[in-house]
């Protein structure tokens, strides 16, 4: 997975427009010429709390998958298969509906701090 960029809208799409393009390179009036490209536009960076999955407690009922308003929960073969952090907005609905409390909402700042501490140790 490509590293996540916390600056809003800095997400790189594989195709189409990217924020390093100048006004000449961007499409006229923001017209979009390929379908389904919202997938390549990262909208998850305004999340302040992040859902974290607890594998032991998960019973793979996929209630969270059904409730997520941003279709940011992956499922494979009828099983929970992680979060799409590029698009998850951190609303916490999944944590709220989970019958086994298998999802915890953790502050993004805390995660950043932990990450920084780890990097400093190294």
């Amino acid at each position: 997975m490509t590293p996540f960029n916390r600056n809003f809208g800095q997400g790189r799409s594989r195709e189409g427009i990217t924020p390093d393009m100048n006004w000449r390179e961007l499409t006229k009036a923001g017209n979009i010429y390929e379908p389904g490209n919202a997938n390549t536009y990262e909208t998850g960076d305004w999340r302040t709390i992040r859902p974290m999955w607890n594998e032991e407690r998960c019973i793979h009922c996929l209630i969270c998958w059904r409730y997520c308003p941003d279709a940011s929960i992956f499922s494979t073969d009828g099983k929970f298969d992680g979060f799409d952090y590029k698009h998850c907005k951190g609303c916490g609905i999944c944590a709220n509906v989970c019958p086994t409390h298998a999802i915890d909402m953790i502050s993004e700042d805390e995660i950043d701090e932990q990450k920084e501490a780890r990097e400093n140790e190294e």
């Binding site: 800095q10 427009i17 006004w23 961007l26 979009i32």
Partner: protein
Amino acid sequence: MKNRVALTGNEAVAQAMRQINPDVVAAYPITPSTEVVQMFSSFVNNGKVDTEFVTVESEHSAMSATMGASAAGARAMTCTSSQGLAYMFEVVYVAASMRLPIVFPVANRALSAPINIHCDHSDAMGIKQSGVIQLFSENAQEAYDNMIQAIRIAEHPDVLLPVSVNYDGFITSHALDVLEILDDDTVKEFIGEYHPQEALLNVNEQLSMGNFDMYDYYFEHKYQQVAAMENAKRVIEEVGKEYAKISGRTYGLIEAYKLDDADMAIVVMNSAAGSAKGVCDELRAKGLKVGVLKPRAFRPFPHEAIVDALKGVKAVAVLDRAETFSTLGGPMFADVRTALYDLKADIKVVNYVYGLGGRDLRLEDVEQVYNDLGDIIKTGKVDKFVRYLGLRE
């Protein structure tokens, strides 16, 4: 073949629309442009045009429907005036930002309140920063000619912006004027068949228009509009030259009238430019070095051409038929004065707000302006740089 006819400004504009034969017209009547819509609807009824005529419930809907048709790939037009344009305001921005080449005539008229139906440029000045090209017309002939040229300007691939063709409400819209109209075939050939670069109804290509844009792209898209406006200056001149070949009438960004050796100049748009030229001729006969500058394009603002035309004068009066309530004068004054600033020449630039709500600009008023300019040159002093011409003080 040239056809010399007597028509009102509205009739001339309606004739131009008949000859353009757009795919879609969506309009709502409002005085004083009502006649254009009314006459055009009779062309539709009598089979003189192939247009799909959409009667909408308001001007907001008129521009919305026109925009929808244009985005779908049609050559689409509407028509408005005054409160109608004010009501359309929101959608005018969208049409410009979506880069839809919609041509729409505007018979210029005052805005309420108090309620007034007469000539004034407040309606047009309300959309001067919306991103539409604004052409102004001195008389019915120019309104007709501007309509035909507007199609080519709007649809030029380097431009792709809406064009509004302005002409004075009642003074031009309702007065009978003698003008030449081109044959239908000449117009048809000049404007050409419409082949939009992209269209929502083109089933072979996927396209989504009017999308959501955040701060990572919006700014660049706004600059694209600025660049299109910059291109429009070149295109307006090119189309003007080409139009001269079929009509014998030349059009540019501005008309410089007797400015070559002038000491004093009046800058004024639309019908009042005719009065100014009349007074200019009289004063020239008396040996005064006076001239008139008539901007034809107001958006884009032809500042290079204006500076070039005015660089030799000593005093300039800008006549505005609209207020800005900035207490710093009218809208065109601000632009002209800004344009002249970098010349660092000692040109005195003063402003006259005139003709609000249809008050006549009398020839004596114009003469007074030239007299004032003469005094300014003589004394080198400007006691009041914003004045109200014909106001009872």
